[in-house]
């Protein structure tokens, strides 16, 4: 018997956890879909219906929210001293349990949220075509890039790890740690800028902006999309984007490894 990874056993585990997923998280998906319905119904009353971009943004944000809460809803008991016993004792390897946890929380949540929200939006479009600003699926390509899904995956990975690290109030504590980390990073960056000298940094930014291509709207530089377009021409920014993506990749990998170690070594 393969004690590290067996595809048949892994398949059975994913199947079992997918079945349990809808019992544990189905109501949350329904309630989040319900709030989207309320949003669409409320838009009927307004003078201008929400555009495709607003609806898509809301769908992505809603999916992101679902991914934040899913690990603690579906696997919240995995590290519980008593409730986690059936999980830890299940004859499956730590690797299989880790991959299944990521697959189920990511795929099941993303798919169920996107399918239900898109279905509701399509139904709304078919019922009230005059009050809708357009069919969502036709305008969704640009927003639903691989990068969007990777962004969602990063969020999910952080909260899967947080779910295994903390025993109680998992989402709140994970958020608190992330906020604390952002503050710490900002503080370190502040110290770095101070050490280098603010004038040097300002000069560097000016040099960068001098090369900024005219065809890109200045507002778009704020987002990574703008940076990406610019990075094609600017090697420094290209390196910055590369480092950012690498760090995000490392964060995801660390989350996976951390979750694996915790599944393997948590004591009950």
């Amino acid at each position: 018997m393969n004690n590290v990874f067996a595809i048949k056993r892994f398949g059975a585990l994913v199947k079992k956890e997918c079945r349990e997923f809808f019992g544990n998280f189905g109501l949350t998906v329904l309630s989040m879909t319900g709030t989207y319905v309320i949003y669409l119904l409320a838009s009927l009353l307004s003078s201008s219906p929400p555009g495709i971009l607003s609806r898509l943004s809301l769908i992505i944000v809603w999916t992101g929210f679902a991914l934040v809460f899913a690990p603690s809803k579906v696997y919240g008991t995995a590290n519980h001293k008593k409730m986690g016993l059936s999980y830890v004792q299940l004859p499956s390897s730590a690797l299989e349990k880790t991959i299944s946890m990521f697959v189920v929380t990511y795929l099941c949540v993303t798919l169920s949220m996107l399918i239900s929200l898109f279905a509701v939006d399509t139904l709304f479009y078919l019922l009230f075509p005059s009050r809708s600003s357009g069919f969502l699926l036709t305008g969704s390509h640009s927003m639903f890039s691989i990068k969007t899904f990777f962004d969602l995956f990063v969020i999910q990975s952080l909260f899967v790890l947080g779910n295994m690290v903390f025993k109680r109030q998992k989402v709140v504590k994970t958020l608190a740690v992330l906020i604390g980390f952002v503050f710490l990073l900002s503080f370190v960056m502040g110290l770095l800028v101070k050490a280098i000298g603010i004038e040097v940094v300002e000069r560097w930014i000016d040099t960068m902006l001098k090369d900024f291509p005219q065809e890109i709207e200045p507002g778009r530089i704020v987002g990574m999309r703008g940076l990406r377009l610019w990075s094609v021409e600017n090697p420094l920014i290209r390196n910055f984007v590369f480092i950012t993506d690498t760090v995000r990749g490392l964060v995801v990998a660390s989350c996976w490894f951390g979750t694996y170690r915790l599944i393997k070594t948590t004591k009950y």
Partner: protein, 278 residues
């Protein structure tokens, strides 16, 4: 089947076991007795891989439990004293989890549930603590794992269910299995457990079969208290006593009296019993 060799284990500064050595063989229902906090549950958790032991100190079916390898997990199941009930019905839980164990027998599970008179289509949350316990015990037994670790299984059960439980376990144990039952309710499990293990002060105080115990000890009830007994307790029928068996006549083991006698005369017990050592 289970080899514990010089096991030392602590919860931070609180040492629970210090050089514990124990060898358990298949085909037996072991009774694990001891005072509160002596480490009965901890020992079961170590055997199930829920707590960390050093690699050579604890070997179950040839595996180090804390490695939690699937092959190990398929043949070991630990049922805690107060298992937390999952969401959904008993049937859903059993059908989702049971098939992961190679020995799982759903018909056996249904048959045990029938004997306990619990409806498997009920949701866990709608059942009393005792009914939940019966469902978990039926599930644990139906998994047919080689090692089954039951922590206070009769707690919360009514009198009839305790009798059904004894009957089910007695009929269930096979030559390939070992069941370890940790309990304070020794009277509930009399006639079921053999051998008996008593833990005390980080060590094994007694590890002996019922046959060995009856050969060395006499359990008697008399109107008057006798001289030179190891343990004596006044009961409505007179005195219940434990003394060294010098006549060679076998008597029925009173587990509660045995436990009390062992705690009062530790040195005598250590001297007269091999404690599982060959």
């Amino acid at each position: 089947m289970i080899e514990i060799n010089n096991l030392t284990f602590s919860y931070s500064k609180n040492k629970v076991f210090d050089g514990l050595t124990l060898s358990l063989t298949k085909g037996n229902v072991y009774g694990l007795l001891g005072q509160n906090g002596v480490g009965k549950t901890t020992l079961l958790k170590l055997l199930a891989g829920l707590q960390q032991s050093t690699k050579d100190a604890c070997v179950v079916n040839g595996f180090h439990p804390y490695g939690r390898q699937p092959e190990f997990l398929q043949d070991v199941f630990y049922l805690p004293d107060d298992p937390e009930s999952p969401t959904g019905t008993i049937n859903q839980f059993v059908r989702h989890n049971g098939p992961f164990y190679r020995g799982f027998d759903y018909k056996q599970f249904r048959s045990m549930m029938d004997r306990f008179e619990v409806n498997p289509d009920e949701k866990f949350k709608n059942l009393s603590a005792g009914q939940q316990k019966k469902a978990f015990i039926s599930y644990a037994l139906a998994l047919n794992t080689k090692v089954l670790l039951l922590d206070e299984p009769s707690n919360g059960m009514d009198i009839t269910s305790k009798s059904v439980f004894r009957s089910i376990v007695a009929g269930h144990i096979s030559e390939e299995q070992v069941i370890i039952i940790s309990t304070h309710q020794v009277r509930d499990l009399e006639n079921l457990i053999d051998p008996v293990i008593i833990l005390d002060q980080k060590q094994v105080l007694l590890h002996a079969s019922i046959e060995e115990i009856t050969k060395k000890l006499s359990f008697i009830t008399a109107a008057k208290e006798e001289e030179g007994v190891l343990y004596s307790e006044q009961t409505p029928l007179g005195y219940s006593m434990v003394k060294a068996n010098v006549t060679g006549v076998d008597t029925k083991v009173d587990l509660e009296a045995l436990f009390n006698a062992a705690l009062q005369h530790k040195e005598w017990f250590k001297e007269h019993f091999k404690n599982g050592r060959q």
